[in-house]
């Protein structure tokens, strides 16, 4: 479904990503791991178009997407969440998700119909799914951290994506919140057949849910394999798990 081949990206002299390879098959849950500064977030920004690769190819459903702007990549079926809650702080929780659904339905430029009658069921379903249905009228900026993270995922779901890219979905969460969030992500994958690509610091979480794990170190892909193989790989242990 998604193939990243030999992608490079540098900022001035700093090589953030210098040779990343990644394969995501439809229906899989794929994790990207690596120490801080390994280039995980940069890689995700390259996939969803916030950044353009200097070299290499990014192919989604047999189509090169490396040079497309983010909104077109999104329309091809890739939605993402951000590491730092990236929501619409002055709008209600409901509006946050509704805007995303309206965009997916290509209704964002309608001028003379009331928005309050549109995309209601889709929005409600998503909010129910992520457990925010009792907070629909809250102004998003006033939500607790954990709820903002859930909203973050809900906004991404509003695009009804084939591939969901989650940049550290549990960053800054308590153990309990992490559990809830991972259960939600799993459920989305199982029930809606979503393909999920995520990165995560919590190794327990990663080895529990991911079917395939890609390990990055200093911007380079070390290997991509199943959890077992990654766990037993000497190379990975040396560069990454070795210290732990």
């Amino acid at each position: 479904m998604l193939r990243v081949e030999g992608v490079h990206k540098s900022f001035d002299d700093f090589k953030a990503v210098s040779g990343a390879d990644l394969t995501v098959e439809a229906g899989q849950m794929v994790a990207v791991i690596g120490p801080n500064g390994a280039g995980k977030t940069t890689l995700f920004n390259l996939i969803t178009g916030q950044l353009k690769p200097d070299r290499g190819r990014i192919i989604f459903n047999d189509e090169e997407i490396g040079s497309l702007p983010p909104y077109e990549i999104c329309r091809k079926g890739i939605a993402r969440s951000f590491q730092i809650a990236n929501i619409f702080p002055r709008l209600t929780v409901f509006r946050n998700v509704q805007v995303s659904v309206l965009s997916q339905q290509r209704k964002s430029t309608r001028l003379f119909r009331p928005a309050r009658t549109m995309a209601l069921d889709e929005t409600r379903n998503i909010l129910e799914n992520v457990g925010l249905s009792d907070k629909t009228d809250t102004i998003a900026g006033a939500l607790a951290h954990g709820d903002q993270r859930a909203l973050e995922i809900a906004i991404a779901l509003g695009n009804n994506p084939q591939l969901l890219v989650l940049d550290e979905p549990t960053a800054g969460m308590s153990a309990e919140e992490t559990g809830t969030t991972m259960a939600l992500i799993r459920r989305l994958a199982d029930e809606q057949g979503l393909t999920i690509l995520f990165c995560e610091h919590d190794m327990e979480v990663v080895f529990n849910v991911a079917q395939s794990i890609m390990v990055m170190h200093q911007g380079i892909t070390i290997l991509q394999a199943g959890p077992e193989a990654v766990h037993n790989s000497r190379q990975v242990q040396e560069c990454y798990l070795g210290g732990a």
């Binding site: 969803t48 178009g49 916030q50 702007p69 983010p70 909104y71 999104c74 329309r75 939605a79 993402r80 951000f82 990236n86 929501i87 619409f88 702080p89 002055r90 709008l91 209600t92 409901f94 509006r95 946050n96 509704q98 805007v99 995303s100 309206l102 965009s103 997916q104 209704k107 964002s108 430029t109 309608r110 001028l111 003379f112 119909r113 009331p114 928005a115 309050r116 009658t117 549109m118 209601l120 629909t136 009228d137 102004i139 906004i155 991404a156 509003g158 695009n159």
Partner: protein, 319 residues
């Protein structure tokens, strides 16, 4: 189509105000009728600006340019051509929107302050044309004694014309704000980066917003001609644009009706304090300082907050 957009209470209030305003001309002295008409025109201009500034999050610093284009288009067509008068009046908004599109195409490529700077430069260019091209625009003298068709040539006629068009325009501006486009615009204001990531072409939306807003600014410009029967380059000067910008802040730029209050306050200050002292801007300055400290949400924003449940005007509405 409109069911449920307007809550009955505020709709009733708006209708009530409209009726009262419609009954005023026979009662009030002519001078006050004139001032009210000026407020209507200025309010429409401020409302159109607020659509981009307050709801779109773009620093449109030189909105007066489009007001001026609308006014000059109408003024020139009424004085220099023998085309029917209504054509001149209708052409104003379209000319303003066209110039809005031309300038907008370049400006939306930039963000924040850079957007504003380019806006001022390109807008000032238009001002320079109006100011310098004596043979066409009359230069700094402007054009005076523009002949208007009978029903709107009297001061009462002009008053009703402005009132009716203000009401119609406010209706459409409200409709647009409550539409999916309006909702998306608010989202872009809050977080353009995120909007790109949910499949929204941010620049295109901003450009559409600019074209719509400049169209309404053009209507305001034509109404200015209806009230004053003259045009002059000051309309396009950036200082005036700044005044309009302040009206939005003063009234409450995150609210729908705020700019109307801002416009009313500014026009009244200029008219009434201005007769006592040339330095009325000094008073304005003091008011602005107080505003920043005590009413950061603007006058109307503050009132909405105090009046309670209606405060989420812009947000809470999908039940």
């Amino acid at each position: 189509m409109l069911k449920g957009i307007f809550n009955p209470k505020s709709f009733g209030l708006a209708a009530g105000i409209l009726i009262v305003l419609a009954l005023l001309p026979p009662i009030l002295p002519r001078f006050y009728i004139y001032i009210l008409a000026v407020i209507f025109v200025t309010a429409l201009l401020a409302m159109s600006l607020n659509m981009i500034v307050g709801h779109g999050g773009l620093f449109q610093f030189h909105h007066g340019a489009f007001y001026g284009v609308g006014a000059y288009t109408a003024g020139l067509m009424l004085t220099k051509t023998s085309l029917p008068a209504w054509l001149g009046l209708v052409a104003g908004p379209f000319a303003a929107a066209f110039v809005g599109l031309l300038i907008g195409v370049f400006c939306v490529r930039l963000t924040r302050l850079y957007f504003g700077m380019l806006q001022i430069s390109l807008g000032s260019l238009i001002w320079a044309i109006a100011f310098r091209w004596y043979s066409l625009t009359g230069g700094d003298d402007g054009i005076h004694g523009i002949p208007l068709p009978p029903p709107i040539s009297s001061s009462t006629g002009a008053y009703y014309c402005c009132l009716i068009f203000l009401a119609i325009c406010l209706f459409f501006l409200y409709l647009i704000l409550k539409s999916p486009f309006g909702a998306t615009l608010l989202a872009i204001r809050d977080n353009p980066e995120r909007c790109e990531a949910i499949g929204i072409n941010v620049r295109r939306h901003q450009l559409i917003a600019i074209v719509i807003a400049t169209f309404f600014a053009g209507i305001a410009g034509v109404l200015f001609v209806v009230v004053e029967a003259s045009v002059f380059p000051d309309l396009l000067f950036w200082v005036f644009s700044l005044e309009v910008f302040i009206m939005c802040l003063l009234g409450g730029w995150f609210t729908f009706a705020g700019p109307i209050f801002g416009a009313a306050i500014m026009v009244s200050l200029r008219t009434f304090v201005g007769t006592y002292t040339e330095y009325w801007t000094l008073i304005l300055g003091i008011i602005l300082i107080l505003l920043i400290f005590f009413l950061p949400e603007g006058v109307w924003g503050y009132l909405l907050e105090k009046l309670g449940p209606q405060k989420q005007d812009l947000h809470k509405e999908h039940k």
